[in-house]
Symmetry: C2
């Protein structure tokens, strides 16, 4: 019979990612992750210090998936690609943002990522202060966009129309919201995704003007 491969911190984190992708952060319990590995919950404690350490590792695993900027590219396409990659990865694991909010210990993948982004900006003539500005505004935008995108009240598949019906917005109470829905969303195959590029370009334009590059 196929003897079960030995447990390891990596295999435990892998299993936790699978559980989270399947049912969200709430289902990531020591018991569920153990079951995913065909093992009792208590066995996991030989490989991770506890649930908190497992969640730290989970967060760092996701950041490791985000593409690093190539060291020799101009900053603007490099930052645009990084933002797009971060959005794809964080949207694919919607539970990851919930982790960002509560994890205080930056892991090696996150530190590596920060270093690569700063390096790209510095090599392209950004001062240290300007690189700090750029990183702050870009990161905030990407995180925040994914946060609202993940939280959209309608599923990506169904489109907003069904949702609008269900919400049954009282027009007199929320006239401007109703206008927005009627003119900009309903029946227009409104893709919230397009907003991402608009805001990103706006920010990159602003950074280019201020950095003088």
């Amino acid at each position: 019979m196929p003897t079960r491969p030995a447990l390891s911190p990596e295999r435990v984190v892998d299993a936790a990612v699978r559980v989270a992708d399947r049912g969200g952060l709430a289902l990531v319990s020591m018991r569920n992750v153990g079951r995913e590995l065909g093992v009792e919950a208590m066995s996991l404690y030989h490989h991770v210090a506890g649930k908190d350490a497992l969640l730290d590792a989970l967060a760092d695993r996701v950041f490791g998936e985000i593409g690093l900027p190539a060291p020799d590219r101009p900053w603007r396409p490099a930052m645009a690609d990084r933002a797009a990659s971060a959005r794809v990865v964080l949207s694919a694991h919607p539970w990851a943002l919930g982790l960002v909010e509560s994890r205080r210990n930056p892991g090696p993948a996150l530190l590596r990522h920060h270093d690569a982004v700063l390096g790209c900006l510095r090599r392209n003539g950004f001062t240290v202060a300007m690189a700090a500005h750029a990183y702050s505004v870009l990161d905030a935008y990407v995180y925040g966009f994914v946060l609202t995108e993940v939280n959209l009240p309608f599923e990506p598949g169904e489109g907003p129309d069904e949702f609008v019906e269900a919400l049954n917005l009282p027009v007199d109470a929320y006239p401007h919201l109703a206008e927005m829905v009627a003119e900009h969303v309903r029946g227009r195959d409104y893709a919230y995704a397009h907003e991402f590029e608009y805001g990103l370009e706006l920010i990159l334009d602003g950074l280019a003007a201020r950095a003088g590059t």
Copy 2:
């Protein structure tokens, strides 16, 4: 003896806010909220449908604290004030962002807020499409900034220096991160808070240019 005031949905949500402010979202359990009110957990079910409904109400309560734009102000200061107010409120209740990520049912306070912001933009000459762009980029920025701010690895009081010591960043592995810390953070009474205004002004400039107002 002072007879206990009758329970009500409002009092239950109030108690949940107190529990969350004290110990974070993880401590908001039906049992803990009940204890806060001097009542058994099961009593709460007569006033809220369940824990999920309680969390929805908790999220909407926080949004209700964010200041609405005055109806007759120019859009730019109104948006700047709204962003600042949202940042203050969300930072004061750091657990609220964790709720945004998981709540799909917009409550009345959130709808009212959205409507007021859109109204301000429309009255100031923004087209419907441009108002959608503006709302998207501003909201993403504010949410994302608070998310990273709340998650800063050092406490607001202690400043970053102690943290930098504790992290003991390996300079050879993360040269650019080390440079940023050495030149821009350490001993310079670096206030991450200042980054908020920088990014916000950058975005408002971009919107003004694009909206032509």
